[in-house]
Amino acid sequence: MKAQQDEVNDLVKAGYEHGFVSNVASDTLPPGLDEDTIRFISAKKNEPEWMLDYRLKAYHHWLEMEEPDWAHLRYDPIDFQAISYFSAPKKASDGPQSLDEVDPELLATYEKLGIPLEEQKALAGVAVDAVFDSVSVATTFRQQLADVGVIFCSISEAVHEHPELVREHLGSVVPHTDNYFAALNAAVFSDGTFVYIPEGVSCPMELSTYFRINEAKTGQFERTLIVADKGSFVSYLEGCTAPMRDENQLHAAVVELIAMEDAKIKYSTVQNWYPGDENGVGGIYNFVTKRGDCRGDRSHISWTQVETGSAITWKYPSCILRGDDSVGEFYSVAVTRGHQQADTGTKMYHMGKNTHSTIVSKGISAAHGQNAYRGLVRMGIKAENARNHTQCDSLLIGDQCGAHTFPYIEVRNPSAKVEHEATTSKISEDQLFYCRQRGLKEEDAVSMIVNGFCKEVFNELPMEFAVEARKLLNITLEGAVG
């Protein structure tokens, strides 16, 4: 028991590896939110009238809404007027044309984070649309993608260059009325990524975006829209780290995925934002709305997430299985330690015939961490022969943490079949002793057992991401033995 206790204490103290602040001058809007803020953002981005209208409509709707309180989370109220809604790194000209023009300090920051921005790293097959604070600063491999007709650019750019696509799809999966944080995002979203994969094209490389929050009191309101046309395929990677901060930072992103007939979208996330210090001070508030629409028959959307960061995580990547024979998947590892709290899971709306969904959720709670799985499986009246299988496992490390499971299952079709299983366990003393008897140090034993616990989810990540996820998990559990 003592070893377990030490381990818990050390987990609490394990430092945050990515805790540094880069020194880049910013062009930041003072805190506060009103119509003028929105007009400013829109003007700054030189947006067309329809975009401004959309933002204003969302803003007025948001004013009417109430902040949700149903999640298993405790945090101080967020003062939305104390947040600055726009910041952009200073630029030499209107925008960097190549890497050479990018602020070297910025590049150094990415370097520290191991982001493969440089050519040789990109050769590994990763094209990067890096978002530093709120504005895209560099994009690589545009040409190679353009050759096959893939559009991969910032959403601001897309508004100008592909207005018809953006107008058609933006808000079509997550409407501005969807929820409190999605409405806020629709009103003030700063930038983000737009991807369009044309019919029949399999995207030749993994697409990835690294998000980074770097400005004190700056909320990040990313907007991602991915449209996979008929028979196309894309794998998109999202990874996040953030510098050490004392003040809570709000992040309210919206991600919309649209898969047409026979298209497949694989969306993977490694989220490692600053979780706050050992007393629970600081850390990112992460309120994200992610939803995929399997619009066409036989379409397939797969979400994989590894959530190790943030003080608060509120996130339910979902699938609307509209097309017949469409497939939705959700694979998740969520780790909470220190005073972190996570309320995460998924929603699977089965609407079409023969739709299938799989949910695998692995929650790990250590120290004072609270980890909740919240999921909905809805079998609609027309979901003939739909299937869902859900497996939720919780692992508790120490006796101060909590693991919770809140599944909602709604069945309106008798031919549908739903299976849900949940277990809760701890790392047993037998397992630890066995590993140590074979010569493994206790912390290595813990990390090995935890990695084993998460294996099903890691297997779903693209190779290089899986390696990163394992590393991240080991760092998170570092110092398990004093």
Binding site: W70, H72, M379, S394, L396, I397, G398, D399, Q400, C401, G402, A403, H404, T405, F406, P407, Y408, I409, E410, V411, R412, P414, S415, A416, K417, V418, E419, H420, E421, A422, T423, T424, S425, K426
Partner: protein
Amino acid sequence: MNASGSNWVLDLLSRDSMPAPVDWVQALRRQASDQAATLPQPRRKLETWRYSRVETLLKASFTPVVQAPDISGQVVPAGISPYKLVFVDGWYSESLSHTDGLPPEIRIGSLREHLDQDSVRKQLGQLANAGENLFTALNTALLNDGLFLEIPDGLVLQDPVEVFYLNSAADTPQLAQPRNLILVGKQASLTLVEHYLPGQGRGYFHNGITELQLDAGSRLSHYRVQDEASTAWHLSQLYLEQDSGSYYHGITLSFGAHWARTEYKTGFRATDARCDLRGLYLVGDGQLSDFHLDVHHDRPACQSREQFKGLLHGKGRAVFDGRILVEQIAQGTDAQLTNDNLLLTRDAEVDTKPQLEIYADDVKCSHGTTVGQLDPQQLFYLRTRGIEKKQAVHMLCEGYAGEIIDHLHLPSLREQATDRMRQALERI
């Protein structure tokens, strides 16, 4: 008070009711009416009422039965035990009951007649806090009668005690509110069987509350068969607290009523107690069955099992909401919950929500849920063996429900339950 307006419950609570037989009960009632005013109105937006359509219940209107009703013409089924107690509209009917031959140390009968007992005064309302919800407040505010049962330490009663809840015919829909208090002494053991039947009643609302205390080492097998009128509303709230080494073995079979909801709220007073909750629900056209479990592990090393199975046909609807809460202190908890649902027809609907909330690490907790239809492979297999489809369906359903019914340790009750289930299946 909530702004969403008035309903018959609030109307009743605001009125002066008939005075209670004793002062302390009057005080308890008054306190409940006062508390009711501050409680949130049951409505869909509240998580606990998310799926159960309580709004229609609140839109109806019911008249409380404020004195012992006319029992002429009431027929009490034969039963399986020599001891039976009968309640009509929640009021004890001595003339319909048979308690001769029970050991004299057992205190049993009308709660109203036992209000002078110290144990009643001490325990009534201890578990069922009127501040908890509107229906508990309503039952307490108009508290008149119900079952009182106190088994002294060490007494083991072999024969079961059987209780029948009937309703009288009335022009307006009536509100029956039995208030039961069951105290099982140390090392005592009892089997209690409760039947909820229409009697002559139609369209009534049964709003019952049972408080159960199990002392150390005691055992209570508590079997409940809800077979109310198809136009009736039924709400049962069971509040249970167990001392060390006690064993509660609870089974509820839910067949009847237009709208039926059973809530179990269980807790432990000490370690090493065991609580088994099982249920079977069979619902068809125009019926809703709802089970809510709130199993609170707040002491170390207790065990609980929750197993609920549903058969749905016609336009039947079922709701299951099972929550296991394990507090930090409750190390060594072993809690396993399952809920299975079989949809036999096109229009049946089910909403299920098993929940685990766990704050201790040395625990064995799990839940499993399934929703599906009969396995076509199994059906096919039976048919290739010459069994016609309808019969095959019945066989499979019986096998499925048997996993609950087989836990009833009274063979005659098992038979009754199986017959009742067959009857219902015949109608599909």
